[in-house]
Amino acid sequence: TFSPSEGTPYLTINHDVAADLDSTNAFEGPEKLLEVWFAPSAKALPAGVKEGGLKAVNPDSWTPMLDLVHCKVLSIINSENVDSYLLSE
């Protein structure tokens, strides 16, 4: 049995979305990729920015933005330096 250390990222699953997804009509694999930088590094956040920067944003706050994109959150890995959101579609 593997014993993760205390620093191991942890997973949260959105059961409401993840339980009944159907990808029957998927046809376009190539993705659109957007990367937006607000500061030069995690160590160089501007004055006035909340501790943790964008990672301090409540995960639910991203939902309306993802609705505009037509994606829903399936699950989230929280880790010290980056939070990963696995999305539908």
Binding site: F2, P30, L34, A42, K43, C71, I77, Y85
Partner: protein, 387 residues
């Protein structure tokens, strides 16, 4: 599709007919209102049009297989560029690769406006809307100092025409069969004949891939974990080398696969652990008429002695595509600022050798190599076809 949220940046990658750029306005608003990043497009934070001032914006994609089926600003590259130009100052758009074959598009905002930041307002962190209709980028006035070039590197492998046998693994039916076989082996060893894709123990395997109790997972996630192991994805950044790495994978029904990996930084030669988050993400559309797989990571090449070319070969062997492109974005200061590394001659020559190694991917012929020399990034686009 995937999203990665760092303290200072956000990465959003979406496939299908998603309308990615339509979320950009709200993303910038959230960054200003909820994270507190500076804004310059309106007078106050209460203004519903408030948008945080991004330092850099990158937007890219491969040519679509079915562009006519896209929605909104994604119907053509021209429309996407118009959308972004209407939003940001200092944007540049490029097409890289063959016009009559696989190619790749990039939109990038310039950081040069950082040299002439707008006047800092006295009453708020915003400026009069009448002064700016577009969102400026690259401003350093609120930060003070100069943009630093961090060790930033992004590798993206875009694979089409997947080998049908390899693509089979990404169908629910096949994934279920693999899971049953795996659990049957385990059950036999334990004297138990049940065929549930969920584990009753909740234990992790030795490689850290958990088959979680049913209450904590879904069939898609459980099978995603099985597929990650079966196809070899779990071995790209194995927990034997990256003890705290974690993969979150999902097997779609009837087919399709997505996985996000988080790879916490490992200690450098001097024992210090850099405060940088590393990730990788994989998406697979296995249907033969539109087969496609992508792999993207910011784990630096050369970490733990593994060259970028070795990672590419390992990933390509999972899918055996008929053709694929590789884009490698590297910050120009990366060599000089990698924590725990000296930008000495030996490091540079190692880097040159690593790049040379990318010219020879086993089983493939490198057809195109196109280099773009941006102000603070180097971009190398390579295109390969099966021999």
């Amino acid at each position: 599709s995937s999203m990665f949220v760092f303290p200072h940046k956000i990465i959003l990658k979406t496939c299908g007919t998603t309308t990615l750029l339509l979320g950009l306005d709200l993303m910038l608003r959230i960054a200003a209102v909820e994270a507190g990043f500076p804004f310059h497009n309106v007078a106050s934070l209460e203004d519903p049009k408030v948008a945080a001032t991004p330092l850099r914006v990158f937007y890219s994609r491969k040519n679509f297989l079915f562009p006519q089926k896209q929605r909104g600003p994604h119907k053509s590259w021209r429309d996407e560029v118009t959308f972004l130009d209407n939003m940001f100052e200092n944007g540049s758009a490029y097409m890289v690769g063959k016009m009559n074959g696989d190619h790749w598009y990039l939109y990038i905002t310039s950081p040069t406006s950082s040299l002439t930041p707008p006047r800092t307002p006295t009453s708020s962190r915003g400026v009069s809307p009448s002064r700016r209709s577009k969102i400026p980028t690259g401003i350093v006035a609120p930060f003070g100092g100069v943009i630093e070039n961090n060790a930033d590197e992004t590798l993206e492998i875009l694979m089409t025409d997947l080998d049908p046998e390899n693509a089979k693994k990404f169908y629910l039916e096949e994934a279920t069969a693999i899971a049953k076989e795996k659990l049957f082996s385990k059950s036999e060893a334990n004297g138990d004949a049940s065929f549930d894709v969920f584990s009753s123990s909740g234990d992790c395997d030795a490689d850290g891939q958990a088959i979680l109790p049913e209450a904590l997972t879904t069939e898609g996630h459980a099978l995603g974990t099985v597929v990650s192991e079966a196809c070899g994805l779990s071995a790209v950044y194995p927990t034997s080398t990256y003890p705290d790495a974690r993969i979150d994978a999902y097997q779609f029904s009837p087919c399709g696969f997505s996985a996000n990996g988080v790879v916490p930084p490992v200690a450098g030669a001097d024992g210090t652990i850099p405060k940088s988050g590393h990730y990788f993400t994989v998406h697979v559309t296995p249907e033969p008429q539109c087969s496609f797989a992508s792999f993207e990571t910011n784990v630096p090449g050369g970490q733990n002695g593994r060259q970028t070319a070795e990672v590419i070969e390992q990933v390509v062997n999972i899918f055996r595509p008929g053709r694929f492109s590789v884009t490698l974005f590297e910050a120009k200061g990366a060599l000089a600022t990698t924590p725990g590394e000296d930008a000495d001659d030996s490091r540079r020559s190692w880097g040159a050798a690593a790049k040379q190694r990318m010219e020879r991917i086993n089983g493939y012929r490198r057809v195109d190599r196109i280099v773009h020399d941006f102000e603070d990034y180097d971009l190398v686009f390579r295109y390969y076809e099966r021999e």
